[in-house]
């Protein structure tokens, strides 16, 4: 029982971790909470829904190709949407007061949710089950292939992201911009390109998280992004916002905490527990587990 809950927690946690990366990367570079990220997650899930429905598997030999399509297209779509949102709603406000981009992001969020609700419909949609799901039995512990897949894919994407940021030139540029926009610009880095790239990667990961969420729970809805969005944000804060490894760890910690709370305390009140964790972390350790203490510049 406990091990099964732990595995459920790891699966949920890997979705939160992927989702949280978008929050943390954008915060790291622009110091803003990208409130519309939860809608990118939702749009990613809808693109995945569309792709899974419209591209049936014609010949089984090409299964890996289909597989790639199923995940690359939502990733690209969600990433591009994030870049467009940044260009329209955040870029003009880059030097405005700190609350302005947040309000603009809320505007984007309202717009996207209602756009999907009015065009696709307010009812929840059943996610197509294209992936064969098998149940394994390890010494009495039930694991489904879907859980292994979600966990594996998330870990793979996180490793790729980590290598990209720590080893490539682009990644170095990203870290430089996060450190200081003006100095990075003086070193010949195109800050706007890097910011777009951050939104592309963060949005793409958010979109994938949306698809995985749809596969895991089997249904999607126009307002599906809100609750996981706040939880992913909690995960990002828990790990230290702006810190990429922290977001991954925070996602797993929150996922496990939530499933254990649902299993042992009260499944009805698991969301309350997640919100209480958020408030407590923000109050007592706003720099998170892995974040560094930042003294405010005057």
């Amino acid at each position: 029982m406990f091990i099964e809950q732990l595995i459920n927690g790891l699966t949920l946690g890997s979705i939160y971790a992927l989702f949280a990366l978008g929050y943390t990367m954008v915060y790291g570079i622009l110091l803003m909470i990208n409130f519309a990220h939860s809608e990118i997650f939702m749009v990613g899930a809808y693109i995945g829904f569309l792709v899974l429905f419209s591209i049936p598997v014609f010949c089984p030999q090409l299964l890996p190709v289909y597989f790639l399509l199923y995940f690359i297209l939502p990733m690209l779509g969600a990433g591009l949407l994030a870049v467009i949102i940044e260009k329209i709603a955040y870029k003009p406000l880059r030097h405005a007061c700190r609350l302005s981009p947040l309000i603009s992001a809320i505007g984007v969020s309202i717009f996207l949710q209602n756009l999907i609700m009015l065009t696709v419909g307010a009812q929840s949609k059943t996610y197509p089950e294209k992936l064969p799901i098998m149940q394994f039995d390890f010494f009495g512990v039930q694991i489904s292939s879907l859980q292994i897949f979600i966990f594996g894919l998330s870990i793979l994407l996180m490793i790729i992201l980590h290598i990209f940021i720590s080893k490539t030139k682009m990644g170095k540029a990203m870290r430089a911009v996060a450190e200081n926009h003006i100095v990075a610009q003086l070193m010949g880095i195109n800050v706007n390109t890097i910011i777009s790239l951050v939104f592309l990667i963060g949005g793409g990961l958010g979109g994938i998280a949306g698809v995985l969420n749809g596969l895991y729970y089997g249904s999607i809805k126009y307002n599906m992004g809100f609750l996981p969005g706040i939880k992913a944000f909690t995960a990002a804060v828990l790990g230290g916002i702006g810190n990429i490894k922290g977001a991954m760890a925070g996602g797993f910690i929150l996922g496990i905490a939530e499933t254990l709370a649902a299993g042992y305390i009260s499944s009805e009140n698991k969301d309350i527990i997640a919100f209480v964790i958020l408030i407590l972390v923000l109050l007592f350790k706003p720099s998170g587990i892995f974040g560094k203490e930042v003294t405010e510049k005057i």
Binding site: C97, L99, L282
Partner: protein
């Protein structure tokens, strides 16, 4: 001159509903009452967002606390004039408890904490059946919320409630106006513009912030307590995150830090859509939020001070280096 215009508007607001009611225009009176409730909420929230510059994304939580307190007490038969102060006190007290640790946080973190608190209150209202009857809402079957009684007058129809709401709204506006031009109001503006400098100038920043935060929460509770007596029913889904966001967008679009702006925001986002609802059909109401989202982005980019600029709220939203 401004006084004369003000008095004329005041008289119109008193006389017109009476005339409208006698012509059988009940829907308009209902909308006017609703606009009044939202005005109380927005004038209250404006103290937090506009004067102090703290973004509060969970304001409906305090409306919910006020409404549930009033409903629970009045189901027991306690009269409105006792439940109202209790609701106000409880709303203010919980807001004080929340504010004491939370007001130390930076702007965007404060927004997230208030959001989380708003959701916690809604989820408690939704899950704690023994207290709040869960999603089915209050009052339970067989119970009813006691009517408001003033001497021998019993408030029953929309017109009577319109005058009650109008009375409280005038009170809210007067308090808010006096606050803005008081010593505390000036301290709030100083904190909004530069917290550190305000503290160094001898302002007790945590205390002043806390006063504004609590006062604005009490206005939320006031609106909730009146609303529940008027409609006679509450359920958790009236207090969602999106309601709180709607309040914020009213203030942003109308003009932050400005009572007239907050009221204009209510007219644009609640009054006009409700008036147009019978004309354009429910389809329009569906598109309402879509349009609000776009307007919010456009306003914050092209006119960050809102439609009605506040005279005192000068440089905060502009470039600062």
């Amino acid at each position: 001159m401004r006084w004369i215009i003000g008095i004329i508007i005041l008289l119109l607001l008193i006389v017109l509903p009476l005339a409208g009611y006698n012509c059988g225009n009940y829907y308009a009176i209902h909308v006017a009452g609703l606009v009044g409730i939202y005005c109380i909420l927005c004038v209250g929230l404006n103290i937090t967002i506009g004067y102090t510059g703290l973004l509060d994304l969970g304001f409906m939580a305090f409306c919910a606390i006020g409404a549930y307190t009033a409903a629970l007490l009045s189901i027991k038969g306690i009269p409105f004039w006792i439940t109202l102060p209790v609701s106000l006190f409880l709303g203010g007290f919980i807001r004080y408890l929340l504010g004491a640790p939370v007001l130390r946080l930076r702007g965007d973190y404060l927004a997230i904490v208030t959001l989380a608190f708003g959701e916690i209150v809604r989820l408690i209202a939704n899950n704690f059946d023994w207290l709040t009857n869960g999603p089915k809402g209050l009052p339970r079957v067989g119970e009813r919320i006691a009517e408001i009684q003033l001497f021998s007058l019993v408030f029953k129809n929309d017109l009577q409630f319109y005058y009650l709401i109008f009375f409280f709204l005038i009170g809210t506006i007067l308090i808010s106006y006096r606050l803005e031009h008081s010593r505390i109001g000036r301290a709030l503006v100083a904190i909004r513009e530069d917290e550190l400098a305000a503290g160094l100038s001898g302002i007790d920043v945590p205390q002043i912030k806390s006063i504004a935060f609590v006062l604005s929460g009490m206005f939320g509770a006031l609106a909730g307590a009146i609303y529940v007596h008027w409609i006679g029913f509450i359920s958790p889904e009236m207090f969602t995150f999106w309601e709180s966001v709607l309040l914020v967008s009213m203030i942003v679009i109308g003009g932050m830090g400005n009572i007239a702006g907050a009221i204009l925001g209510v007219f644009l986002l609640v009054g006009i859509p409700e008036i147009l609802r019978p004309v354009l059909g429910t389809k329009f109401v569906d598109y309402r939020m879509l349009i609000f989202g776009l307007i919010m982005i456009a306003v914050i980019i092209f006119r960050p001070e809102g439609i009605l600029k506040s005279k005192r709220r000068t440089l905060e939203l502009e470039e600062r280096f």
